[in-house]
């Protein structure tokens, strides 16, 4: 009986490992980075397609380039601060209930990603044969 219990417990642990593994690899950051490559981009703005994109386009890119979004990565609070700043300085109106949609979208696709803080290796080097003059 005791042996059986141990066996059941062990099986439980193993099955836990199996069921948790895919979840943990899909969580924070890395999963989204992989997903970014396969997500569809809106041809007009270059922003990632999503059911909330129409609202982002209406509220944000009618006034400024979508590149201001594409270039930046902020937390939800960071994006909210940008909206407040535009409301204070750039006549952006109160987004009302639609603010949630906009922030949901920005947080989902344009959140900070981890990177090295010193000097990263040079990347995307386009090698060419140098003919010196």
């Amino acid at each position: 009986m005791k042996i059986l219990l141990v066996l059941v417990a062990a099986l439980g642990m193993v099955s836990n490992i199996f069921t948790q593994k895919p979840e943990s690899t899909n969580s924070v950051g890395s999963g989204l980075v992989v997903a970014m490559d396969t997500l569809k981009r809106d041809t007009q703005t270059g922003l990632i397609e999503d059911e909330n994109l129409y609202m982002v386009k209406a509220q944000c890119t009618s006034c400024h380039s979508s590149k201001l979004i594409l270039q930046n990565r902020f937390t939800r609070d960071g994006w909210k601060q940008k909206i407040r700043w535009m409301q204070a300085n750039h006549n952006l109106w109160n987004l009302g209930d639609t603010e949630k949609q906009v922030l949901d979208y920005l947080e989902k696709y344009y959140a900070p990603t981890a990177a090295v803080a010193r000097r990263a290796p040079l990347k995307d080097i386009k090698w060419y044969k140098l003919e010196q003059k």
Binding site: A58, C63, K67, W93, L122, Q132
Partner: protein, 410 residues
């Protein structure tokens, strides 16, 4: 006129039809559009016209365009390789014959207005080569990422500017003893199209304004200043963040206090008074932030372009420029061993104060393989560029970390 406001009012209704219409499907939904609506794409001209096809577009509304470093190889930067950093939209109508410049402010004895022709005829003309570098040049090197255009190191140029000295104009107007600062006013259009708002209105202390090299310029490299660089009149102040060099110049206020125009506050062109940890939140008040003045020492390798492959026997010729804000550069060195050892380069004197200095050298590589050539400049106060990123700050300004190129030998 008020098209964006109308569009915004329109958007406030929040109806799906209204929103879809505002997305640019302006033909399909034409009957839903408010009167005076201007489709986004027709609002401003193309800043890339006449520019090198290699320029990097950081943004197109407003226009922000960067030069790849190897394009900056010329001793005097040609217009087609000059970066653009705009805060608003280019003025819609520029009437040169009626263009005026008004000097006013608390510390001007009386306001005075000049036509462009007045400036050209009545005052002595000067030409200087001046380094204009965006305060945020190099921003993309900061971690965590800071807000704004993610510039590489190409938001800098040194062109030849022709105009009159601001100090001659201020002497003609007459300024009071309590003058401490000047602030410029420009004819560009705020992104919100609110005519009451200025896109940017910055300035410098009166001492910087009175320097010989501070010009009200109408020519760059012997030609009229192009539209996207401030036609027909630009304030040009070398060595400081280029945002003090106001384009489409229509006014200068002589102030009895630090100028308080648009983008003089918050973390705009300001850095923390005391060093902060990367990512730290800093209250955006005068107590915690100070205005950026002189830009720091910096250098670029403009030849060869990164990625050069050479044969093992070849000696590699390298060149570039170095500058140091209000200071001069006294030494430029290169390293092929990640900064373990440095080799002195030939360094020219600046053609005039606040112009960049040209450097060159030749290098031999000990064995075949992958190399990085690093460059480091030291200013006349003995201050050198750091190899790692310098102090993180919320606006991502003043990244003068050493630049480098990749070279493969053999």
């Amino acid at each position: 006129m008020n098209s964006v406001h109308n569009r915004r009012n329109f958007l406030k209704t929040g109806s799906l039809t209204a929103l879809v219409a505002a997305l640019g499907s302006d033909i399909v939904f034409a009957d839903h559009l408010p009167k005076g609506y201007i489709p986004v794409l027709l609002e401003e001209g193309d800043a890339l016209k006449g520019k090198s096809p290699e320029m990097i577009v950081q943004g197109d509304k407003p226009w922000n365009v960067e030069s790849p470093v190897h394009l900056l190889d010329d001793r005097i930067t040609p217009v087609d390789k000059m970066f653009i950093r705009n805060n608003g939209l280019v003025p819609e109508k520029i009437d040169v014959s009626n263009w005026t410049l008004t000097i006013d402010g608390e510390s001007a004895k009386a306001p005075k207005t000049y036509t462009l022709a007045d400036l050209k005829k009545r005052f002595k003309t000067y030409t200087y080569q001046l380094v204009l570098e965006c305060g945020g040049n190099g921003r993309s090197g900061f971690q965590p990422q800071t807000s704004g255009n993610q510039w590489g190191q190409g938001a800098v140029h040194c062109a030849s500017w022709t105009g009159v000295r601001l100090k001659d104009i201020l002497a003609d107007v007459g300024i009071k003893d309590d003058a401490v600062y000047i602030g410029y006013h420009s004819k560009d259009i705020h992104l919100s199209r609110d005519p009451k708002k200025e896109s940017i209105s910055r300035g410098v202390p009166i001492s910087k304004a009175m320097e010989n090299e501070t010009l009200l310029a109408w020519q760059v490299n012997g030609q009229d200043i192009p539209e996207f660089h401030g036609y027909p009149l630009r304030l040009v102040i070398g060595g400081w963040p280029a945002s003090v060099s106001g384009k489409w110049l229509s006014g200068i206020s002589v102030r009895n206090k630090v100028h308080d125009g648009a983008k003089m506050d918050g973390h705009s062109y300001r850095i923390p008074r005391n060093p902060v940890a990367p990512g730290e939140e800093v209250p955006q008040t005068d107590q915690y932030f100070k205005i950026i003045e002189s830009m720091p020492v910096k250098s670029l390798i403009t030849y060869p372009k990164s990625g050069a492959m050479i044969t093992a026997e070849t000696e590699l010729a390298l060149r570039g420029h170095a500058w140091a804000g209000d200071r001069s550069v006294k030494k430029v060195e290169v390293s092929i061993d990640f900064g373990a050892t440095w080799k002195d380069c030939k360094l020219e004197l600046p053609v005039n104060r606040l112009a960049w200095q040209h450097w060159n050298t030749r290098l031999k590589f000990p064995v075949k393989g992958y190399y990085e050539v690093w460059v480091r400049a030291t200013d006349n106060n003995g201050v050198a560029q750091p190899m790692v990123s310098p102090a993180w700050n919320p606006g991502g300004y003043l990244n003068n970390a050493c630049e480098r190129i990749a070279v493969k030998v053999g």
